[in-house]
């Protein structure tokens, strides 16, 4: 009898866990889009800087395991971003007022993003997503979803050039803190890159040195 009770308890616990996991994954269209947009706007307006750690998973359709890399990200509104891979390779990408600098295994290079419309658009898109300002993002068709704990913003490129590379971007936002905790980038190739963000620190002091490659 005791064993039966234990089994039933275990099954119930398992069912609850599975249902709660499924509930987290199932999204429905947002009930009040205006509220979400206004929350995103006000979060962006009150966030001057943001630091966090990230893990990137590259899923190739033919590989059994994703290629995982880890690093740190720093954003300073409105136009500065430091994106740094620490393992398993070293790579830094910095966007600073329209200039993009890279350090790749000790080799430095620089590019003026304002010189091409395509790069300008890319710069604007990256900064908007990282800053949580995705409402009516130019060049993308935006749809909003939600579940109990999170929002999901789906961005489908409307620009032909962008759609050659990107099929869709999904941005997951935690409802309470309005923090982006996952970005899923579905490529035109059918492959996918997932980025997980954690340990967010908002409005901490960020030195300008962070946006210069030394």
């Amino acid at each position: 009898m005791k064993r039966h009770i234990l089994n039933i308890t275990f099954l119930l616990a398992l069912t609850c866990t599975v249902s709660s996991i499924l509930a987290q994954d199932s999204f429905e269209p947002v009930k009040d889009e205006a509220v979400l947009k206004s929350r995103m706007k006000s979060t962006a307006a009150t966030t001057q800087t943001m630091k966090c750690d990230f893990a990137q998973e590259k899923h190739l359709s033919f590989m059994s395991m994703p290629i995982v890399s880890n690093g740190k990200m720093v954003v300073k509104h409105p136009s500065k971003l430091r994106w740094e891979y620490l393992t398993p390779y070293s790579y830094i990408m910095i966007i600073n007022d329209g200039m993009m600098s890279m350090r790749d295994e000790g080799n430095d290079s620089e590019m003026d993003l304002s010189k091409s419309e395509g790069f300008k658009q890319m710069n604007f898109t990256i900064m908007s997503i990282m800053g949580g300002e995705m409402g009516d993002l130019e060049g993308f068709e935006t749809t909003y979803f939600e579940n109990e704990t999170n929002y999901r913003v789906d961005l489908k490129p409307t620009d032909e050039q962008v759609s050659e590379f990107i099929a869709e971007i999904r941005v997951y936002i935690e409802k309470t803190a309005m923090a982006v905790f996952q970005v899923q980038l579905k490529e035109a190739s059918g492959d996918e890159t997932r980025m997980y963000f954690k340990d967010h620190v908002l409005n901490a002091k960020v030195s300008e040195d962070q946006f210069i490659i030394k």
């Binding site: 033919f62 395991m65 290629i67 891979y85 390779y89 295994e105 590019m111 190739s189 059918g190 890159t193």
Partner: protein, 196 residues
Amino acid sequence: MRKYLKISLLSSSLLLLGVVALGQSILTLDAYGEGVYNMQIDRKKDHFSGILSVAEESKGVYRFALVSKMGGTLIDMRIIEQPHAKNTVHPPGGKTIEPSDLIYCVEPLNKKAILKLLERDFRLLIWKKTKNMTPGKKVIIGGKKFRIWSNPCIRSGVQTWKTAFAVTYTENCDLIETKINHPAIRLHLTIAPMEH
């Protein structure tokens, strides 16, 4: 950005001249038949690095993908290995055509000449020693002649005067890195296994 894409193309193109531990290709595939490599490409003053993923999908069928470090897939190609006796010999009047399949390629790389070069270089990676590799012996892989010489753990080969490559192994014959130099076009490649 365009510059980097061009380099990445070239990079993948002239990829690896495989040098072979006995009976194996240069690829150090894991238990799932998969391998991930950090690939660095230097041409003149420009530098680019990416990730090369390789998997043996079934016996003699290999899949290669070159991915940028920020995650974008640049090229995805399937190459089918054929019996060495057929695929390493020029038939009279033409080169052997071996089967391959382009799954995906970003537009700037989607050029016939680049893809041909890429395929040939990827094919070098999967080439396996099947007969004795006497130093000085010439073999034909992907329609090009290579001269092989070797010692127990370190081997190197020469395609023509235009290309040289060297592969470094540990004492246990684990691959440390492969270096390929193309002095004529000032292109240098380094490929090393990466933890994933």
